[in-house]
């Protein structure tokens, strides 16, 4: 008697303590249902990856105004961008996906693969004025599944004071060799070279891509000489002390914080940091990321798309469409993109942005040359390539594998990953 009861208690204790892991393993479908409710009446659910904006922010007000203009009440839920993707899948499984959803562009292909997004052509949304390469990040098999709210990308910020002290002319940086030479001079002058993010998440891949593409690399063949060249460049920087060891830990935010200390000459970071750059307290400049042998490297586009998830009740699309159109009309794009310091997706609004803030000019040029990560027919293959790629970057920079071996392993993993 006593034994069996103790057996039972021990078994329950063991199972109970482990159930949280079971939930991690994919069974957690409780969290999404709360925010997706309230379907019946005139309340429209809106999800976005901007938890930093509350209802009183310009963005929050714009969303609710677009709702009231369309004659409905919009319930806005902001959450972390990785959270948003998972919650959206779970909500769609439960049949209560939000009416309008703002998602990060590489997530669009996953959502389309899951079959939960409507085509913009089916909804009758106008995407003609939008720059082709920006729209491309949300296109799968020639069909477009969302309207970009704005775009951002990467470039090199530099600290003018540090460069002057090291006698480096930013205009002299044309290719990888001249950049590395500049880093060497900066280090010799007692300052730190460059900071970037090589973390083992999508952010790490996003930051590595300009160098990978700048060498002429192709995502379907990670272990080509070109890919190895790009990874060797980063490894050389970390190995020679031009870049700090903790780039492996850096998110783009912590990498920015390092640059903001004023000790670093360069930082690879995004359009969205412009607001912080003005507050950094030192003179900075921006140059585009150089390609291996000169010219500007192609950079990946970042930024979110407004999408309309599939609903059982198709009569809701009319209002959803009105909300999307409202959010993406020129006047609203201008305010939104200025708040987020994004580059607008249409030429007309870009011109207005540059007129009011000339600092955006290099960014507009960079965005015009940027590529979607899931473009070029990659779609949902991109995530299965990106994960081995950031793992390879980590392996090479931490010294556990040579760039060559790391990318060979990555290519094998990416090949299997489908």
């Amino acid at each position: 008697m006593r034994n069996t009861r103790r057996t039972l208690i021990t078994a329950i204790a063991a199972i109970g303590a482990l159930t949280s892991v079971a939930a991690c393993g994919g069974g957690s479908d409780s969290s999404a249902s709360g925010s997706g409710s309230g379907k019946a009446d005139g309340t429209y659910n809106f999800w976005d990856p901007y938890p930093q904006f509350d209802a009183s922010s310009a963005w929050g007000k714009l969303v609710s105004k677009c709702g009231s203009d369309a004659g409905v009440k919009v319930k806005r839920t902001g959450m972390d961008t990785t959270d948003l993707g998972n919650k959206a899948l779970l909500a769609a499984q439960q049949g209560n996906a939000p009416d309008v959803m703002l998602v990060d562009n590489p997530v669009v292909s996953t959502m389309v693969e899951a079959g939960i997004l409507n085509k913009t052509s089916d909804l009758g949304l106008d995407t003609k004025p939008i720059q082709k390469n920006i729209l491309g990040a949300g296109e799968i098999d020639g069909a477009s599944y969302g309207v970009p709210i704005g775009a951002n990308t990467l470039a090199l910020y530099y600290n003018k004071k540090v460069l002057t002290a090291a006698h480096v002319d930013p205009a002299s940086i044309k290719d990888w060799a001249s950049l590395t030479a500049a880093l060497k001079k900066v280090k010799a002058a007692g300052k730190k070279g460059i900071t970037f993010s090589a973390i083992n998440t999508e952010e790490g891949s996003f930051q590595f891509l300009p160098w990978f593409w700048g060498a002429g690399g192709d995502l379907t063949k990670l272990n080509s000489d070109k890919g190895v060249a790009a990874l060797s460049l980063w490894k050389q920087w970390v190995g020679s002390g031009y870049a700090p060891k903790d780039v492996l830990q850096n998110t783009q935010t912590t990498s920015w914080q390092q640059f903001a200390t004023g000790d670093y000459a360069f930082a690879e970071n995004g359009t969205w940091q412009l607001g912080n750059a003005a507050k950094a307290g030192f003179d900075y400049g921006v140059i585009s990321i150089p390609g291996q042998n000169g010219g500007s490297a192609p950079v990946p586009t970042g930024g979110e798309f407004v999408t309309v998830p599939v609903q059982k009740d198709t009569s809701r699309y009319d209002v959803s469409k009105k909300i999307v159109t409202c959010l993406t009309n020129s006047a609203n794009l201008l305010t939104t993109d200025n708040t987020l310091t994004y580059v607008a997706p249409t030429a007309a609004v870009q011109a207005e942005q540059v007129k009011s803030n000339p600092e955006l000019k290099p960014w507009v040029t960079a965005v015009a040359a940027a590529r979607g990560r899931t473009s070029g027919g990659l779609g949902t293959k991109y995530p299965t390539i990106s994960q081995p790629m950031w793992t390879a970057v980590q392996a090479a920079l931490s010294g556990s594998k040579s760039p060559n071996d790391a990318l060979d392993a990555a290519q094998t993993a990416a090949g299997k990953g489908n």
Binding site: A14, L18, S20, K245, T380
Partner: protein
């Protein structure tokens, strides 16, 4: 602790059981029978909420997880809910994955090293605080801090302190003339770093349980031992340690289960990196299920189930040892 309380309670319930048994045999009138049925219904009513709770929060998630791991889920079939049954394919994928070996090894090292250090430190502190000196209570409370802090705070603080460029640990090493260590950025140190942080977090748990176990050891034993001339070490070896054995066993088992599934600490500090150097089954499971843009629910759930199986094996092992001890 659970065992101790159980020991105290079970004799009483056996007595009661025996008593009702005799009543039943002597008096079997219809009235009695009805009353008995009613009391049984009442008992069931009392049991129902617990049973429902267990079913909803333990059995169903486990079933879902098993189901996820036995089907070939893509994002499309996950949403549509028509994933085909694929048997043990997910488990085969996971076992063939080059990450499996290292993840398994890291899980084992992480768990055993953490537990050994936590237990030894916890026991030493418990014996130390059992001496009831002045300020013992305050000091003991201080030792509980790691337990009280939200994990995100302690894990972030650790990763901050262990930062290879600007961390305070490397600064301290520098002061004593040791060259800096790349705690979190080197494949040789990442696992050690998360183990150190985990030991720090786990000590209070061991301390509290072992300390309460010590309270149950009668003081006369020590008095008698010291009259017989036993040294402090002998007292510990011959009295404290053997009498603490049941409490130790449950502490170790609970510690094992808690440590096996540690996820947040590792995820916050290294995300399993650099390049899987500190990934365990728990972080790998999350990585598969939620860590990329294209979730792989099936293999993720399979890894989770393997983890549950491992815990279950150790649970059964514990029961066996317990039985042998009793007989």
């Amino acid at each position: 602790m659970t065992t101790a309380r159980l020991d105290r309670r079970s004799p009483r319930s056996t007595v009661k059981f025996a008593a009702t048994g005799t009543v039943d045999r002597t008096d079997a009138s219809p009235f009695r029978r009805r009353q008995r049925r009613r009391s049984r219904l009442t008992a069931l009513a009392f049991l129902a909420p617990l049973a429902l709770y267990l079913a909803a929060f333990y059995v169903y998630p486990l079933y879902r997880n098993l189901d996820l791991s036995l089907r070939n889920y893509t994002v499309r079939s996950f949403v549509a809910g028509d994933a085909p049954f694929s048997g043990l394919d997910n488990f085969r994928t996971v076992l063939d994955d080059p990450t499996f070996g290292p993840a398994m090894r890291h899980t084992m090292i992480f768990t055993f090293v953490s537990i050994v250090f936590q237990y030894v430190a916890g026991l030493a502190l418990a014996v130390f605080f059992n001496r009831h000196f002045r300020l013992a209570g305050t000091l003991r409370a201080l030792f509980l801090i790691p337990w009280l802090l939200p994990l995100i705070v302690s894990a972030s603080t650790w990763s901050w302190m262990l930062n290879s460029e600007s961390g305070v640990v490397n600064y301290a090493l520098h002061l004593v003339g040791v060259s800096p260590v790349n705690w979190l950025d080197s494949p040789d140190w990442a696992l050690t770093s998360v183990i150190i942080a985990n030991v720090w977090i786990g000590i209070p748990f061991n301390l509290v349980i072992l300390y309460s176990g010590l309270q149950n050891i009668p003081g006369e034993l020590y008095e008698a031992a010291s009259l017989d001339g036993a040294s402090a070490w002998q007292q510990f070896r011959r009295i404290t340690f053997p009498l603490l054995r049941p409490v130790s066993a449950i502490t170790l088992l609970l510690g094992l289960v808690y440590t096996l599934k540690v996820f947040d600490l590792i995820w916050i500090m290294t995300k399993g990196g650099p390049s899987d150097a500190s990934s365990t089954l728990a972080t790998w499971s999350y990585q598969l299920g939620f860590g990329t843009l294209l979730p792989k629910f099936g293999p993720g759930a399979a890894v989770g189930n393997i983890l549950i199986l491992i815990a279950l094996v150790f649970g059964l092992l514990y029961i066996r040892v317990q039985r042998r001890q009793e007989s």
